[in-house]
């Protein structure tokens, strides 16, 4: 076993931070480290927390961290940042949050920007969760903004997915919500002291009756006011009853099926480094080559 791996397994924070950076940079060293650590993973509970912008996910996540710390559980938080590939960088809010837990070695927080495409980010998030698992974190909270398929996909790949909704959103936003309805293992109605909470609850129940879940779990609906700490322990309890249900293992296998597919996809994309896309693009833009024929040629090149 390498020294770095041993230090991570012993829970050393500095080694953990160093490994996290290596994973973000997708270095070869990170991969061999993860191969080494992998057999020692599988104990952490990974929770995806998603929902529309403004639903209060960060506040709820923060409250859940405090609740878990009160139980002396080691916690990791991965905040998947909705900033686009064009702007990049982490939110000021996330940076402040990191500072607020800075003195607590039982909490590890990392903000990850959606700089790459879906495959890249999902793979990095998975690797990061495995790292935190190996480092002894008992809960890993992955917070994503459920506005794009990418973020929804990442939240869905957790052991349990919490969808955070708020009363009084417009029609178009409801449509987005509808997209994330199907992935909820636990619903949270946050800001439930605001008008429209009852109506939202009825809407969720109505949508649930149309659900096409493969298991027979009926996602509970928890009302919270995260800023006041209301409903936080109830959210945690709901998460736990889902994690402890029969069939949790099937979900883990299904998730690995999706992740393996993503990982293979990532690897294949790395082969693209040898292809001169720009030269071909000039030919195609001038209509001297068609894009279908050239793609076929490349495919043959990669395979032989």
């Amino acid at each position: 076993m390498t020294e770095l791996a041993a230090k991570i397994l012993s829970g050393d924070s500095r080694s953990l931070a160093r490994a996290a950076t290596a994973i973000e940079n997708r270095s070869a060293a990170a991969e061999s480290l993860l191969k080494e650590l992998f057999p020692r993973t599988g104990r952490a509970r990974v929770i995806g927390i998603t929902g529309a912008p403004g639903a209060g996910k960060s506040t709820l996540t923060d409250r859940l961290v405090h609740e878990l710390r009160r139980e002396n559980k080691a916690v990791g938080v991965l905040a998947v940042d909705p900033s686009s590939p064009y702007t990049g960088g982490a939110f000021l809010g996330d940076r402040l949050r990191m500072l607020s837990h800075h003195a607590d070695p039982g909490v590890f927080i990392r903000s990850m920007a959606t700089r790459g495409h879906l495959g890249g980010l999902a793979a990095t998030t998975t690797d990061m969760a495995l790292l935190l698992d190996a480092a002894g974190k008992e809960f890993v909270l992955i917070e994503t903004v459920g506005v794009g398929q990418d973020e929804v996909e990442i939240a869905k790949l957790a052991d349990a997915t919490v969808v955070v909704l708020v009363p009084g959103m417009g029609d178009d936003v409801q449509v987005i919500k509808a997209g994330i309805m199907e992935i909820a293992d636990v619903f949270v109605i946050n800001k439930s002291d605001q008008p429209g909470a009852d109506r939202l609850q009825r809407e969720i129940l109505a949508l649930q009756s149309l659900s096409t879940r493969h298991d027979d779990w009926v996602p509970p609906i928890v009302c919270t006011v995260a800023t006041e700490g209301q409903g936080v322990s109830e959210t945690l309890a709901a998460m736990r009853s889902f994690l402890d249900r029969a069939g949790a293992k099937d979900r883990a296998v299904a998730n690995w099926g999706v992740r393996l597919r993503e990982m293979l996809r990532e690897r294949l994309l790395e082969q693209f480094a040898n292809i001169d896309f720009q030269a071909a693009a000039a030919e195609v833009a001038a209509r001297r080559l068609d894009p279908y024929t050239i793609t076929d040629d490349w495919l043959r090149q990669i395979q032989h």
Copy 2:
């Protein structure tokens, strides 16, 4: 030349609809048709129209179609539907819109659900735009909801990208807007009769001063009230001055570079059909195999 290709080039609506369905189904016939049609494409102007949910993109698109029809231009509209892979299906609104232009053979409207992943949808949208181009559509409007990277990516791949904003949106939505700021060739402030339009304009100007565009185009800001038809011809004029600028050709080449990459990615993913991801997932979930080693093995299989 096949009969279908000849009919499409002559602008036959029924053949066009048939080919569009073949493209949506990603059939082999669609590909050989597109290979045939490709040398006859390159005349249509492709416009991406994106923005936050509720910004009024559909109404603006509709008004632009009417304006272009008044000039007797043939128009195609591709509405990229934000419904998730979990729900699927087209919006009722889009279906109604299609009916409203049903009698006009100069307009072809297709609503496309985001059922697949980014690669699939971007490739299908590109193919569909090429088909409409070959069929003699002079303008192809691609309307997407700019909430996910996928939709933003698709809008960005147009010859010109219009970003539609509205006054008085919340903070989190502004963050999403920030993500789509960088891709705007033309800004539209829709519902500009509502409070906050001036402030929004100042915000855009402030963000523009931080812009990192590679060309020296300064995206104009057009104020509209799409429901009243206000500012629609100004939007069209702004689009046209962008399309007619020097450097339009560079953009076309750059876009093809991105598209070719996506197409190759798509093709590689098709190879996955032979891999038993679920069996491997069970081994990985039980920690009998590590995901990194198995991915390496598959990669070698695909390549040999």
